[in-house]
Symmetry: C2
Subunit: 396 residues, 2 copies
Amino acid sequence: MINQKYKDRLSNKSVIRELAGYARKRGKDIGYENVFDYSLGNPSVDTPTDYNSAVIDMYKTMDSMSLHGYSPSLGNTHAREVIAASLKKRFGIDYETKHIFPTTGAAGAIAHAVRAVTKPGDTVLGFAPFFPEYRPYINDSGAKLEVVPPDLPDFQINFKELEKMMNGNVTAVLINSPNNPSGAVYSQATLERLAAFLNTCQKKYGHDIFIISDEPYREIVFDGKKCPYPSHYYDNTLSCYSFSKSLSLPGERIGYIAVNPRATDADILVDIFAQISRGIGHNCPSSTAQLGVTAVIDETSDLSVYETNMNLLYDALTEIGFEVKRPQGTFYIFPKALEDDAVAFCKKALKYDLIMVPADSFGAPGYVRLAYCIDTEKVRRSIPALKKFAHEVYGK
Amino acid sequence: MINQKYKDRLSNKSVIRELAGYARKRGKDIGYENVFDYSLGNPSVDTPTDYNSAVIDMYKTMDSMSLHGYSPSLGNTHAREVIAASLKKRFGIDYETKHIFPTTGAAGAIAHAVRAVTKPGDTVLGFAPFFPEYRPYINDSGAKLEVVPPDLPDFQINFKELEKMMNGNVTAVLINSPNNPSGAVYSQATLERLAAFLNTCQKKYGHDIFIISDEPYREIVFDGKKCPYPSHYYDNTLSCYSFSKSLSLPGERIGYIAVNPRATDADILVDIFAQISRGIGHNCPSSTAQLGVTAVIDETSDLSVYETNMNLLYDALTEIGFEVKRPQGTFYIFPKALEDDAVAFCKKALKYDLIMVPADSFGAPGYVRLAYCIDTEKVRRSIPALKKFAHEVYGK
């Protein structure tokens, strides 16, 4: 019998995907270059040529079994060594091979992390605004996601609400900095305060509370700054990384979990992830992708376009009169809509071929997300449309 | 808090992996060429050069987004079209793109299939002997695997026991032909009888009962024969395929589910699989692998070595006096041990540098599995060791 839980979900489709579908359809009518499609977080810059060259070289020179054979259930050992060494060098944390578990992107990482450190019925606290896919990631594990309301207007952590919502049933908190959709980066002060609070709670409730840290945008930070690394501030941290954005290869499904060496059971957590894999059909990312990223471990795509686009959009939105926080990273910007109903706002924008995503499902009703991982030239061309829309519909 | 369920599993490690570990270690001492390692089902023949050439070509010519960008959540459309067309042509079943869901190998396929057609608490019936990983595949979904005892000595289906174990709580049966570990291929008569029985049960209990058909060895069949295709005989069939064995690329994690177009809800099952992906962190196999297999969709590696090896081993084992059914496919042979305790038998064999796997965890105590996906030359050299072992320890 078809499982009713999943069948029910079919009638509840992702707003983002529906808008992206509309954009593609409209593109067929008027040319996709004329659709200002800010709906999807699909990286727009090329994968580094070094990555492609490394894979071509592997395919030309490696023997079949070494390249295409089964990975060990903990992941390719060489890939784990290279990732551990890179993180150790970069963040000064004593990662060893045993702390690294390759995953199918950040989605796979979170799927493993949440199952490892919670049990069905536990509560995981997340923070608005948040990536809506966190709901199935967490809820399908048997734990339950509860969302702390946003800290307005800065999109750091709303500690007042966090303190209210914390209780003995919480065994993990899920953070995401740089943040999708707000573009905010958690400050050192925010992470220190979160760590202090969680340490107090661990003592009070007598059990571990893990931070599951979703970090796919770690490399996309503006103004020459660096993103404070959550694992520096709190021992029980599982860093969930994806190369999707930094190397522009989301289709390859490659990322990892890095277990803080000072976390509880740090030496066996990766073994536990491998046990979890057996039940969810994961069994490692592709061997090509595991080996490919090791060849370019400290490289990124040319990510500078995202900062260029951000500045253009931020200046335009501010000039028009939007209430908007300047993003510190990612390729998202998160203005307040020009009316209370962000869904209505986004629908009206479609007439101007502007595709924006209402943030109701992100836990921040009234806001909209623009994903500016598109050509700068298109961003420039979208600005007159934005101005026209705001002027004609809202008198701005 | 670390999830105790997975922590407990760490003390219950796979016998196969332990033996493979022993073989590697022994190989360091005496040279791996002198260890007759029949433990692991890792394909020994090369991936077709056409696959590697196709990938190299893709990496040289495709634009970054088309090659490395996100796949749609239902999988790469071109890959789904090519797979559907190939299956339609080969099996004469009206598969369309909407019936194909690319997965991370057969493990990913089964993970999705079982969640789609069962709900937690349901029973899935499997048939001994069976691949031990079926336990976590099924049990971690919330359904429960119950195992029908083997049909001796032919390893078809024990219908007497199946009829006893069937009840209204059963919503799926999991079959695997050609079979790991027995090498048996379900005959047309077996599949017809199974279909008739399940059709009767569907009427009796008033709900669907799906066949989840695990088919990674479909292409490895001996004596010029073909493997009867389960979906021909029963409408509610989900064919779970992997290219791991046919193209020798288990590390790339690429396979698919093919939904029988006549199955209940055939038009929405793939949409349901995509919903399941959201919760288990799957989000498609790698884009490279999806595109790579489409380039060689009707090819296989040179699989003839497995038949050569099978004949050598079958003749030797028979000559020595083992009770053994001649395999009809796969790269496994499944003799009865020369004493009741197959674990003791396999331990004694280690002294002769023969690594075989006791089949207790496969649901067939007293039997052993030899995975002969190794060089033919090594198979030849192992025969004197087999003879010496059987003679010195068991007087054969």
